[in-house]
Symmetry: C2
Subunit: 256 residues, 2 copies
């Protein structure tokens, strides 16, 4: 395969120019960061699993009518996606208090929220991804109010669907983060929003229904053991653990 | 005068039972705090000046149709107000970047914002008054969406009026904080919102138009000199410096 031009290296993924205009290749690394980059490390096999988990979830969401950037998986660590103009807002949906919300409001971790809460964070590593409101987003021109309405209603649909899907495999969807981007729609000659980035245990909190065991990146944040196994367990329960099991996940990227 | 029953002692004021049901006496102290109570001190004469400044501004706002809790000033340090059910949300309106907004978004202090921005903070000393969104406020039941709409539109009217008033006396209204409360309206048999608490250099940032000199509590926060003089200067420009000038302001409260 011809060498691809690298466009961006992020904390967990690398973006390459795609084979056709308007496409990108998303390469999933094993790198993990937490607390605004203060903690860095590696979770062996994470890239392979997140590539597979995100493919699966984006496909299911596409089927229920949530537009996504996902086109197809190319290999163990890469997927082809539509290039989008990323809206620099992280949309967080929370069902159960955990992490920064539990701290901000002095609520016990694990408390079921009175209803699902949608939050926005401004995507900026330098500023530490500050929480923002519709006021900041619209005043600074990061997104229009129509975009926010669309993002919120898509995020709530994703929450409904994924809450059900995860409950079906014995996991509580505590909270998760989404990113959206704008694409040009040649059918309507207008821009519309699609779900971009990834959906994986890197940006979802997933707790076992019976034991409340955390099967997500919080294990890494909190220096718990079994980080790799947690990601594998999520894939296993989704029925998509790559053939050959965990062994397959450590292959160097050149062997893709 | 009969001794009044004290109901609450806050950081800057004390609330006493009022002479009639449904009224309170707000007593203005010289105490000042900053950075969520980490810094404490006294600004001599502040209570007298804030009592007078808040009286003046609440009266002017009442005249333009913004409902307030203010009834009348009783003496140098006390004013009679309607008792309200305080909504535990601080409404902040910002015209120019300063303080926490400048820090949160890495914007230079003094940058004119693309438009006025309204923010909400949850009133809780223990939690450090965290910034919150409509989502948190409505999910946790601190106010209804109708309350928020009313608070925001009243806050924007107050901003328009006070921006003009302060500009007229050579001051830029950089930002300010309001509190609202619910009162029972026997005319309509419904609850409605009124502006409560105080409007003073304790909760407004006021910069001299020509020199950008700060004539507000930031002088105290930043250990600058001339704190007392700044409060006096605001009252002087508003044409309401108590007769006898600053000397009058230090009279002990028993001589009210
Ligand atoms: N379809 C897409 N088109 C363009 N950019 C995308 C797309 N999907 C995700 N991105 C962006 O690519 C980056 C993914 O790499 P990641 O390691 O998550 O980066 P970061 O450290 O910035 O979060 C993110 O910045 C994300 O916003
Ligand atoms: N009209 C009112 N009725 C009832 N409470 C009020 C009214 N106006 C202001 N308050 C409340 O009284 C207190 C004023 O004292 P302050 O020293 O500012 O207290 P705090 O330290 O809580 O800010 C505030 O808690 C404020 O919310
Ligand atoms: Mg990312
Ligand atoms: Mg106060």
């Amino acid at each position: 395969m011809a060498r691809r031009r690298q466009l961006y290296e992020g904390k967990a993924k690398v973006l390459f120019e795609g084979p056709e205009p308007g496409t990108l290749v998303q390469y999933f690394k094993d790198d993990a960061t937490a607390f605004n980059n203060q903690k860095k490390g590696t979770i062996t096999g994470k890239g392979v699993l997140n590539n597979r988990i995100s493919e699966y979830l984006m496909q299911r969401l596409q089927e229920i009518g949530v537009p996504t950037h996902f086109i197809r998986r190319l290999n163990m660590r890469e997927q082809l996606v539509r290039e989008v103009e990323i809206i620099p807002i992280e949309v967080v949906v929370r069902n159960i208090a955990a992490g920064s919300l539990a701290k901000r409001f002095g609520i016990q971790d694990g408390t079921v929220l009175p209803r699902s809460i949608v939050e926005y964070y401004y995507k900026s590593d330098e500023l530490g991804d500050p929480m923002v409101t519709e006021e900041h987003i619209t005043a600074f021109g990061w997104a229009a109010i129509q975009d926010l309405d669309e993002m919120m209603s898509l995020a709530l649909r994703v929450n409904d669907y994924l809450s059900g899907l995860f409950l079906g495999i014995g996991l509580k969807l505590v909270d998760f983060k989404l990113e959206f981007g704008r694409v040009y729609d040649d059918q309507t000659d207008e821009m519309h929003l699609v779900l971009a980035d990834e959906i994986s245990p890197d940006n979802c909190r997933l707790w076992d229904v019976k034991t409340n065991e955390r099967l997500d990146k919080d294990r890494f944040r909190r220096d718990m053991d079994g980080v790799e196994e947690a990601y594998q367990e999520v894939a296993r329960r989704l029925g998509i653990l790559p053939e050959g099991g965990p062994r397959d996940m450590q292959g160097p990227s050149v062997l893709q």
